[in-house]
Symmetry: C2
Subunit: 459 residues, 2 copies
């Protein structure tokens, strides 16, 4: 008999053909773009309203049936994989913009809308939503994983850009957190507790996002350095100098090689910085000049400016496609993508040690980074069936996480914990982990919400 | 026999003469600057280390003895008042700067240091800490109450400016939350859960703060308007236009009268805006010009510029002394200070209705506001022994809170809940309140940490 048959029967009665146990849907919802193995749900549901999500959760809670929220499936630490089976809750039919409050610089959206869809809808308002992880991720997924991306250095991460949430809790209760006001001092901050909780505390069904005015002037550029250390030291001094960079992205030589293969970029295979400036025309010129003076001190050459929108679009599409360009380096393998974040003063040490170590281990590793935040990613090509190579990759990731913690940083700036980094939760959080577990137990006593994620096994 | 005698004996054995039951200390720790009645602790402790705080908490937890953290005593909703008796935990001997990491734009401090002491210590570094509620509050108290103040419009509130915390939990466990990295995606956000928890979930013993580079250029100004509505509409358009104001403060005509009496300000008794611009010299000029054009459209006159540091210091000292200048209006009474925060588009409606209503009720009411955030304060002069006047004031506060919620806002932008606004927790948070209670119960099962605050009685 099928696992969770009673729950699935009750869900089918509620949802009709928006509940499926079909092979292809289950397969799609069990895949991921990282290296984790297939993890099939027993069924997939497609809710269309908060009330339906609440009813689904009530049914699952009554039947001890796990629920794993799903949208685009772009998470990189397996957050969306239903590793305990049960229900994959596909939020993509809840993808409406419910309100654009342009006078208050915010909007209210359902979780299934993607960041690109949202920005398309916003275009006529003169406002935009700045958070951009590489993938065209859903807003709900980005909230649940505390996503950030290239513009976080200027505009903050999802943590700083969500005013309010609606969520369905484990017993089907619908809660609202936050308000349309820019700040509040009333009660415990459940908004921030849910942001980054990876679907383990509640299912986000509505998000109120801060919006930004489209800058009057935008200018982008690339330049290259003789060493990754010089590039990163240029970033450190730029940030310390208070230049309000909109984007400042590191691309190592291996990543440039990927862009040359995948995007026919024709770039010299040296470490690069990809840059963007936002402001008034005079402000942008002032920022670019100040950056240029710092960069010259670190030997930057080969400045290419992208002033036309289409040139900027091409530049950032290439950068955002880094995951795919990494795939071009050793076709047939998977990418083990990992990220850490360190205090900016420790960034050069961290990047140089990471790159040196991958070379010593004979690994193909792209490094790209939201380096203004002290955050960078390593993309390791790996054949999961090659036990020896897989071990070398895992050993490197372990060393990298140790390095992040020893430098006062964190084992993930944006990819999160999921199933991939649970072993580091105790090491990073120590006795605070006890209080995280206490929240999970209090909020989801039957452990039906994305079980097996974020919190390591044990007590 | 003295209440909590066993706990006090054990605490005295630990702390010696840093545990006192003396009348004058108890009296000092039971007072407040708002209108709430005296609330005496049974004893006052003066810990000097995190380890001592942990030991104190263990003793109190074992003896069911309430603990109310205390520092400057400037909270305005009674957060520091030991209304259930027990121990007042005076954190002012833990007032060291533990580290200034200028390369990472942060510092690590103990909770008892005040914001002015911190900025004095930082002066030589070229960095500053921007959060400034009116009082010279302690950093620990500001963290615990999610304080903001005049520069929050530019730099954010305590919520956006704390990277990491150390806290002692109800059973004496010491936890660390966050890291020195600018962002993280690892685990539940306990940092933000503790910020604004008003000492009810844990006692903050160390705070890692973001710092800002001192702006290259600073310029301040005041101007006046014919109506409070014109002043607020000028603010709304300024914010919507994206001008990065460092400060934009509303002062109503009654507040100006207070400044004229208390500070001999000599200002026309009209609504004013007090402004500050931060940036490069060219940037400040650009901002001031853009603001001036908007202000002219709303009939602003009487621009006075404060370019010299001493003139700016005098201006902001006057503004920060608004609570005391309010006292000058009807000597012998107390001030019922209340604040709300609404979406910026609703601010003119909220301020105009608040001012009209106080006039209709015959109340003396100063209105000052961090209006760039949609946040404003009403300072009502009241004789707590005059039951009829007290009722009129309480009725007004009730109406104001209803107004905030009906406009999509919150019942407090920065003063918090304490003992004064618990009646609004259910109304503002609805079913989310259940989850706040669940956290409190999980973290502090014996309810020893600041009992009677933030959460309303009941289940």
């Amino acid at each position: 008999m099928m696992a969770h048959a009673a729950a699935i029967d009750a869900l089918r009665a509620l949802l009709g053909d928006r509940l499926t146990t079909g092979e292809s849907h289950r397969d799609q919802h069990g895949r991921n773009e990282a290296w984790y193995p297939l993890a099939l749900p027993d069924a997939v549901a497609f809710p269309e309203s908060t009330e339906e999500v609440a009813e689904i959760v009530r049914i699952c809670n009554a039947h001890d049936c796990p629920i794993t929220p799903y949208a685009i499936g772009s998470s990189l630490e397996g957050q969306h994989l239903p590793i305990k089976g049960g229900l994959s809750l596909d939020m993509m039919r809840m993808n409406k913009v419910l309100a654009v409050n342009d006078a208050d610089l915010n909007c209210v959206v359902q979780p299934g809308i993607t960041r690109e869809e949202l920005n398309t809808e916003l275009r006529a308002t003169g406002l935009f939503f700045p958070i951009d992880p590489g993938a065209n991720a859903s807003i709900g997924g980005m909230a649940a994983t505390r996503a950030s991306g290239t513009m976080a250095v200027r505009y903050g991460t999802m943590r700083e850009n969500i005013l309010a949430l609606e969520a369905v809790m484990a017993d089907g209760t619908v809660i609202r957190t936050g308000s349309q006001a820019r700040k509040s001092a009333t009660g415990y901050d459940l908004t921030h507790l849910l942001i980054g909780s990876e679907g383990t505390l509640g299912i986000i069904t509505e998000v109120t996002l801060k919006l930004q005015g489209q800058p009057e002037a935008v200018s982008a550029a690339t330049c290259r350095f003789e060493s990754v250390e010089a590039a990163v030291n240029c970033v450190i001094l730029t940030i310390q100098s208070g230049i309000p960079m909109a984007r400042i992205e590191l691309v190592n030589d291996m990543m440039v090689r990927g862009f040359n293969i995948h995007n026919d970029a024709g770039l010299p295979e040296k470490p690069h910085l990809f840059l963007e400036f936002h402001g008034s025309p005079a402000g942008v010129a002032e920022q670019a000049k100040a950056f240029g003076e710092i960069a010259a001190d670190f030997g930057a050459t080969g400045f290419v400016h992208a002033k036309k929108p289409e040139d900027r679009t091409r530049l950032w599409a290439m950068r955002h496609g880094g995951h795919y360009a990494t795939s071009a380096l050793e076709p047939g393998k998977r990418t083990m993508a990992t990220d850490i974040c360190v205090p900016i003063s420790k960034l050069a040490e961290a990047v140089v040690r990471a790159e040196d170590r991958t070379r010593a281990l004979g690994l193909t590793c792209t490094i790209v980074g939201h380096v203004g935040d002290g955050n960078f990613h390593c993309g390791l090509r790996v054949d999961p069936d090659d036990a020896e190579e897989l071990k070398r990759c895992k050993d490197f990731v372990n060393e990298l996480n140790d390095l992040a913690l020893s430098l006062g940083g964190t084992v993930s700036g944006e990819h999160g914990i999921g199933i991939g980094k649970q072993a580091y939760m105790q090491r990073e959080h120590g006795s605070a982990l006890t209080y995280m577990r206490a929240i999970k137990t209090a909020f989801d006593p039957n452990n039906i919400l994305n079980p097996g994620k974020l919190l390591p096994p044990g007590n």
